[in-house]
Symmetry: D2
């Protein structure tokens, strides 16, 4: 059973009628609903929960964390962002959606500002598959059509990704590396650009397929805290680890 935790700042859905109309129970609930299936169990947490609903214990029991945040990044305590960062280092998978590029844990994991150009003008977007053979792109044809999406443009100040799986093109002309993989320690991160709150992006079946594929792809095969072991030579009769 894959254990997913969907985190959402859950702000716009409670303060803006137009957003509430699209995601009446919050983006996290919509994502949880389409993910739940025989091999995936889902919990949710939001900014309103104590400690953002995130503790080391909860992350230890999470295979893949999904993060949506936008206007309340600054209200996530540094300690919570550090817990998420460290859990990825230990092997937890993480999917950062849309404006999660500016969330504290994502920036901490990238080591960069992760900035970009942007515009909210309701551009349509085609999200093109750049590697049709990758597990995360299975079930997607040549592209995903998003009738409306916030425009994100290059250059993005993230590090070079380990692999680019999707590139988006907008009707206004911009392009953006919309689906990128990054390894950090024992964990892997998938950044996926679609998902502005004012559009029903997470109701689009192909977007759901990509997120479901990514969940399955990011399940850790190995989980261990990163240490900096003081070692003897490999063949030392006393063993290689030096216990202080």
């Amino acid at each position: 059973m894959i254990r997913v935790l969907v985190w959402n700042e859950f702000y716009h859905e409670q303060t803006k009628e137009s957003v509430k109309a699209i995601y009446p129970d919050g983006i996290h609930s919509t994502i949880a609903d389409f993910l739940k299936c025989d091999d995936i169990e889902v919990r949710t947490a939001t900014l309103e929960d104590e400690n953002c609903g995130i503790t080391k214990e909860i992350l230890d029991e999470t295979d893949v964390l999904i993060w949506w945040g936008h206007a309340r990044h600054h209200l996530v305590p540094d300690e919570v962002a550090a817990l998420v960062r460290d859990a990825v280092h230990s092997g937890m998978g993480a999917i950062f959606l849309h404006s999660g590029h500016h969330s504290k844990p994502f920036k901490a994991l990238m080591g960069t500002p992760c900035s970009l150009t942007w515009r909210e003008s309701g551009d349509s977007e085609l999200v093109w598959v750049t590697n049709p053979a990758h597990p995360i792109t299975q079930g997607i044809d040549r592209f995903i059509h998003l009738p409306n999406e916030e425009t994100y443009g290059e250059p993005v100040s993230s590090p070079n990704p380990d692999e680019v799986l999707f590139i988006g093109g907008y009707s206004g002309g911009e392009v953006f590396r919309s689906g990128c993989l990054f390894r950090r320690g024992n964990g892997q991160i998938f950044y996926f650009q679609p998902g502005h709150e004012t559009f029903p992006t997470f109701h689009i079946p192909e977007v759901q397929t990509v997120i479901r594929n990514a969940v399955r792809y990011l399940v850790p095969r190995y989980r261990a805290e990163i240490t900096c072991p003081h070692v003897r030579t490999w063949n030392d009769p006393e063993g290689y680890m030096i216990k202080k």
Copy 2:
């Protein structure tokens, strides 16, 4: 003095009036003309020259080779393609322009078919800079606007590039990694997508700037044929190389 060799199949310019009108002396002459300057000297060669105008000696005296081909790839002898491939391995820089993605030397260097989707419908293209700090993108603003260009679309079946410097977006919706670096042995390759023969792309100053930047960037710092030396241990008193 940087020594550039511009190679062109020089076919459309002699058989199609509309192309001849844009490049009366051939695309190679246009490129040679805008490149020539105090620190760059340029020679040209075409499919019509004996042995395509390419010998090992000529390539040994070339710092950067620029290649344009489209409809006559199959007429380039395998031996000539192999000479180009080997010269890159030894350290020569190479720029493959536009439909050069399907040329014999480029495919041999990539190890893949380098195919893509395409359409000649006169789309306009914005070629966006993805790394504004790279030497090859200096002097370019956020993007290059090409009023008309042949459309190239993802997925392209080339290997993952070492770095992506430009991504193009077309008015018809497609996106394409338009400027990519690949290291092969001691040499580096820059693939640059603009340059369909029916449009005056090589007369656009920003396109010229990118090609000039790339020439300067690709000048070899080290040139040596790739060998597979049989060695003794590094500190062997007889020296490490085993002469057979």
Copy 3:
């Protein structure tokens, strides 16, 4: 059921008593024997078989090809090497072992000479895991100890790998990127350096574990010949593919 084809030039085992003693039925038989299990079925082929035992039909029915060659690379027909190359492009997984770095299909897929420094002096080798979280390194501790192995040294003139999973260090001082992943088209390639014919490397359990892990990792999720489709715009009422 994962369908594996193990290819071996099967030369040293028939001509050298010391090698025959280690691999009496050939390296291919040893590999086939340790791979066969509930979810993996294995066929073998050698240089002695008609057309090297390789046809398009056979490769179409192969999920992962394993290749061992050393002294008879030149006897593999170009057509056979091209079949292997094309099958990888279409999605087949491929594992090239040890001196397979100089085989025709590997060099064709890399686009480089894939040369290195080498010495047969019976160095011992430690093959260190560089990414303990990757599926291919599961079940391996910090390193694999090979009591004797042919020495391969950097620099290797292969392209930058998509990911490095193992780095070997030899008692004579050399280092080598011993386990590397490369994507080529729809297929993935794992190069794994251990396996000189004069040592019982393929009898070592950890080496077997890595090869078994790699087989499972390289199973294609998507298989399609690479084409270069002429397309209409994505939303053209006649459909995007242009049938000629």
Copy 4:
């Protein structure tokens, strides 16, 4: 004129006689001395200076920062580490030496713990060139021999580098990616592993050559703070930037 700032925690050289004997005026002075030349000017700063000798103004006037730290990482204020991180994002080059892998600015730029295995047993090390054609490896033969060095072993929990230029092998058996390039925003980082304080590593000519090459390679071609501009479409008659 290339403007270099060498930063050193300057601790061991003042507290340990054996280290003082090797670097009487501190590692920073030794590095400054061998770097100074016609086209390179060098300033130094240490932990003892006010604010570590680092302000935004000083970094704005620095092309390449060199950082050595080991036992006093925790005494570098977070604000100073943030200044360094931000300056790299804006384009400043940075070289992190040896135990700088655990410094605050390096970890902030990598997004990972950057841990490794280690041992102080006076192993000798061969630092092998993996790309003989890169500007940073020019003037180095196949390897650099370090008679004694602290042992650093894989796996290192840094992200996959953009390129690996050196791999070290130790007499005790370990291997380590000793020379790695990482791009972060507009700046580039070179991590170089040699340089333990108890050995005269920085007096070795080849080590000096690599650092000098790296300084020249990392000089910024473009320097601009990373912003997240709110934009109109590229061809908007009012201009693309939206001034709020």
